[in-house]
Symmetry: C2
Subunit: 122 residues, 2 copies
């Protein structure tokens, strides 16, 4: 019997309530699928070797770049290429799904108290 | 000025109406992000070297395996590991987003008239 199961995102989001604390829900092809709840400003950072995809499941947030801000709403996604400085800022809680390489660290080059080197699997 | 733009999935889905004809909306880390509308049965196939993620944006479908069937609904995802035979079957039209390596061919090992070696970018 194969053990492949579907994953319901809303059920997974119900399992945690803290902000900027990503959880992993799956892996494929050397990439991880992450869920996170964002609220407030994150830190400015970039990822030297990893592109990062944000998909908004619920709510909206601003993704700030040094030269512009993009509002990303429910049902929208944005891909941040490697090396590009960015900062998520969420006025209200937003639920996002991210895709990035397995070894990506959430704060990239900006190590701080927000850095989470290990990602919990849920 | 950076050219990073958000992508609205509903707007992209409005751009095409045919079934089992995937369109690419982005790439990252050697992977592609695909949108497809499914209706009816696809072909049984597997991908020798690529894991494949299906995320349902609208509707639902059955993902058949040789030993079970998984109903995947809106807001749910499923990852099919490489080498595992599968067949999507959609009783009604379903809108899905897929993640897979850039060189993945939609029908995997089952080349047929449904095979699309080139994926249009929208």
């Amino acid at each position: 019997m194969n053990t492949i199961e579907k994953i319901n995102l809303a059920e997974k989001f119900d399992l945690f309530h803290d902000h900027y604390h990503p959880r992993m829900i799956g892996t494929l092809n050397g990439q991880k699928v992450i869920l996170a709840k964002l609220k407030g400003p994150f830190v400015w950072h970039s990822h030297a070797n990893e592109d990062e995809l944000f998909y908004v499941v619920k709510g909206w947030f601003n993704l700030e770049f040094r030269d512009k801000t993009v509002r990303v709403g429910e049902g929208e996604m944005i891909i941040v290429p490697r090396g590009v400085e960015h900062r998520p800022v969420a006025e209200e809680e937003v639920h996002v799904m991210l895709f990035e390489p397995l070894d990506t660290i959430n704060t990239g080059d900006a190590v701080s108290e927000l850095t989470r080197k290990e990602v919990d699997r849920i």
